[in-house]
């Protein structure tokens, strides 16, 4: 897979919100594809990994800098 993940820029959006955006993008992604979600919602740091783990995908990294969470994930199935 490419080293450059598809970036989902959900900063400063409330509805449908970062996790819903990620779910929509994951549905149309290929297995093995990586994505990076940008979010200014601090709740994303917890609810995104919770969903990713529950469905069985992979969280590669989860970092915050200057109020922006960058959560990199990989579709596994």
């Amino acid at each position: 897979m490419s080293d450059e993940p598809k970036v989902i820029d959900a900063r400063n959006t409330f509805c449908p919100g970062p996790l819903m955006e990620l779910i929509a993008q994951m549905k149309q992604a290929e297995v093995g594809e990586e994505m990076e979600l940008l979010s200014t919602d601090k709740g994303s740091a917890e609810d995104v990994p919770e969903w990713i783990n529950k469905v069985g995908h992979e969280v590669i990294s989860n970092e915050e800098k200057d109020g922006v969470w960058r959560i990199r994930v990989r579709k596994l199935k």
């Binding site: 959006t13 819903m20 469905v55």
Partner: protein, 377 residues
């Protein structure tokens, strides 16, 4: 300046009318021309389908003649676009006609794709088309009791619809005197009952007060119609007697076929609302790939910003306004109470407790919409 608007839904219509008023002098002098191409000669008030599904409106109340809604200065043709040639500023229609433009606005909307989930189209009721909303109401009339599951696909149009239909079903069965025989069960894709945190904070205790059960982090995977079981991506399942779905949506096929955007959503600048890499192509309403609500009000407010900008491009050569992400959604909390959520890119909503006054304002807006579409409200 030739301005071409593709789509005669809420976004395209408000844009055309607003623009025609702003450019009245230029249209009269022949310095500007506005053309709208649409797939239908009818304009549907789509939010009304929710009411059709519970027997509060009939389909004929949702339609007006599209030409009659438009300012006289707009050339309107029922001839949908099939090919976009953005490099040469022209489109080709189903009838084989070529339209050249200086500025293009794409407002083709979205569609449900229940077929994306195995078993869903055959076994669930929907209310996102006239036919399905009428069919759903007929099923509700026949329903005498059991478990009703309301389930939600991603992405979907009208973010309040899942909650609204649930609260309206609660009142519908109560009015029929069979609420005690009906279990209402709501599923939602993320870890709370609504994407907007403040809306979820209001809706969750309402569910508990009304005896509506719910399961979060539930994304539809497949429907086993034989055994009446809905299965989730997360590995859980729920049985049902009546399945009501808010299906996932996609943009229109013509957008995908012309490679303008994955799943029919066109990459769009969130403030300028132009297609990424194309200064003379604007995108509005459901057609954008913006991570904001796919709702009529979004299309409305985007249309106003784009109209102001196209008019200023004609008059002074540059756009003047940025879209601030404004969205306004009514939230029906039953048959006779409602609240609303208003927000933009910077400010989250803070919905107030539902009142009868807001519900009656929404009832009034269902009629006022036609003034809105004409660009008067």
């Amino acid at each position: 300046m030739r301005i071409l608007i593709i789509g005669g839904g809420m976004g395209g219509t408000i844009l055309g009318n607003n623009l025609a008023r702003r450019l009245k002098g230029e249209l009269k002098a022949g310095k500007a021309k506005i053309t709208m191409l649409s797939a239908s000669d009818q304009h549907m008030y789509q939010p009304g389908l929710l009411y059709v599904a519970v027997g509060q409106m009939t389909p004929d109340q949702l339609y007006r003649d599209q030409r009659g809604l438009l300012e006289p200065g707009i050339d309107f043709e029922v001839d949908p676009v099939e090919e976009f040639d953005l490099d040469n500023n022209r489109v080709k229609t189903k009838a084989g006609k070529t339209h050249e433009y200086d500025i293009l606005a794409i407002a083709t909307g979205s569609r449900i794709v229940p077929e994306a989930i195995p078993g869903l189209a055959e076994n669930a009721e929907f209310f996102y088309t006239e036919e399905s909303a009428v069919k759903m109401f007929k099923r509700l009339r026949e329903f005498e009791g059991g478990k009703v599951v309301i389930t939600v696909g991603v992405p979907h149009k009208c973010p309040m619809a899942p909650l609204e239909i649930t609260f309206m079903l609660n009142d519908y069965f109560k009015d029929r005197g069979i609420r005690d025989k009906v279990q209402l069960h709501y599923t939602y894709p993320i870890g709370r009952t609504h994407s907007l945190e403040n809306v979820a904070k209001w809706a969750t205790p309402e569910f508990e007060r009304l005896g509506i059960t719910y399961e979060t982090l539930f994304n539809m995977k497949e429907v086993d119609g034989k055994n009446k079981v809905l299965k989730s991506e997360e590995g859980t399942e729920t049985n049902y007697d009546l399945l009501i779905a808010i299906p996932a949506h996609k943009g229109m096929e013509v957008i995908e076929k012309n490679n303008l955007g994955q799943s029919g959503w066109i990459p769009t600048d969130r403030h300028r609302l132009n297609m990424e890499g194309r200064d003379n192509v604007f995108v509005l309403g459901d057609t954008t790939n913006l991570p904001i609500s796919k709702a009529g009000s979004t299309a409305h407010f985007e249309a106003e910003a784009i109209a102001e900008n196209i008019a200023s491009i004609v008059k002074i050569g540059v756009p003047v306004r940025d879209y601030d992400g404004k969205v306004f959604c009514f939230i029906e909390a039953g048959k006779d109470r409602a609240t609303y959520a208003m927000f933009n890119y910077q400010n989250p909503p803070d919905p107030k407790p539902p009142t009868k006054a807001v519900h009656w304002f929404k009832m009034a807006y269902n009629q006022l919409y036609w003034a809105s579409a004409r660009g008067l409200l």
